[in-house]
Subunit: 279 residues, 2 copies
């Protein structure tokens, strides 16, 4: 690595990529970055966060110590393709998407399995974009780290170190296990927030009659639909399975209400509270 090489190359300066760039720059690292929105890239350079703006070809990204792909999951495989011809063999390639199997498959297909380690920090938010990015976003959050089956130990360590540097607690797992579990703990709640808002919208109920509880339950409905359409389709099988199970629970409650079956309603609510409160 020449002294002119950047320490990190970040592709996409949204909430996650922008926050990573801010923290790394604050720690003194040289950050190179690209964003499809020229104004965002300008802002990040003016703020002193990005030292080297990258062109759309990403030329120059491949000689960084680590490349972080922080674009929507549907766009991430295309970024890998752009990097392939220029990557140094000791560079860690990671991403931050909410699904981990499709990007891993893309990395393996492109012969980048040895240096690819998928990541997913649980720091998502209903806000989005560079303007929502901020220092310290990852402090004390969990970051899933999913090494490809071919990943070298040194790049796995580099991925773990990166998240620790950002203050996150890395959890090692596989891409398959990640996607199976996150279908339940993230993609299902996100989908349900959208479904709840969509169902109420169709009912023409008065939005002003929402209380603080209802608003919180649907807070994720403010999340960017384009981002989540991609995630939902990318994990369609596992999410579909979770949605079907959830729909059966809903039908159970409807039946219990129709029957006036107090014990059954109560049991369902008790199970829920006990699990949520960690009992």
């Amino acid at each position: 690595m020449s002294s002119a090489d950047p320490d990190f190359a970040i592709v996409g300066l949204g909430l996650i990529g922008g926050s990573i760039a801010r923290d790394l720059a604050a720690l003194g690292a040289t950050v190179a970055a690209f964003d499809a929105d020229p104004a965002t890239l300008d802002d990040a350079c003016t703020a002193g966060v990005v030292r080297r703006p990258l062109p759309a070809s990403l030329a120059g990204a491949g000689c960084a110590r680590a490349v972080v792909i922080a674009v929507p999951v549907t766009a991430a495989p295309g970024v890998l393709l752009g990097l392939r011809s220029q990557l140094r063999t000791d560079t860690l390639v990671t991403d931050v998407g909410s699904t981990k199997q499709s990007i891993e498959h893309a990395a393996l297909r492109q012969g980048m399995g040895e240096q690819f380690v998928g990541s997913h920090p649980l720091a998502g938010d209903h806000r989005a974009g560079w303007s929502a990015s901020r220092p310290g976003l990852f402090r004390s959050t969990r970051a899933f780290v999913c090494p490809s089956p071919r990943a070298r130990n040194d790049v796995v360590q580099a991925a773990l170190d990166l998240w620790r540097t950002l203050g996150a607690q890395p959890t090692l797992t596989t891409a398959a296990e990640h996607d199976r579990q996150l279908a339940w703990t993230s993609h299902l709640p996100q989908s349900v927030a959208y479904l709840l808002a969509a169902a109420i919208a169709r009912s023409r109920a008065d939005r002003d009659w929402l209380g603080p509880g209802g608003r919180d339950t649907m807070r994720l409905a403010a999340s960017p639909p384009e981002l989540w359409t991609g995630i939902a389709l990318d994990n369609a099988a596992a999410l579909g399975h979770a949605l079907a199970a959830f729909r059966r629970c809903t039908a159970d409650l409807e039946q219990a209400l129709a029957d006036g079956d107090e014990a059954r309603v109560r049991e369902l609510f008790d199970t829920a509270r006990q699990w949520y409160c960690g009992g």
Copy 2:
């Protein structure tokens, strides 16, 4: 009203009743109160919030300027029964429950229609009990005020004044309209939070893998199941209708995911976001 009569009598010193008592006492009013838990009543007296503890018979409550029933919706009709024989005709009787038709019917049945005005402040929370009650809980919140069809104008005004005194913004409506709308904007979100937690509990997913978004979506699952079992059953027809519509939305999303139909997934998420963000 003799000078020895309390200004307000509050039955139930939970989150809502306790917070009302705190605010009224802070404004210099004489508060009489009963709570089924003797320790709670003792605490409220020791804190100087309740000046007159009431017995289980509620003897003495009926000569207050206003009686506020702040017990679970299933217990509220029984409180009306206890008050009936001792009520002065100029006393406002109100409640704070999340359903408004059943308590109004009970008031009418017991010949208390002229002085009964149902209330429902949108200040509920997943926390409960006297220990969760606090000053200023109603500041800037909406309070639905549902006069019985026979209510006299002076008691309606007294109910509106009470909520304004507590800092809330009263919204006049009918019990039927309240229950129909709140099935969508409150009882459905609450039920969905329980259903989401129950479905994930059954899946045996790892609770530690929840992110901040998933946790917020299910925050209401920490609410007291006994309270919400009563509310759900008390508004079973309207809530069942809302749950069925919501379940059909869920099935739509499952189908769109199974078909890989990006446009349909996106349209659903867009509808949701637009409604939630007030677009």
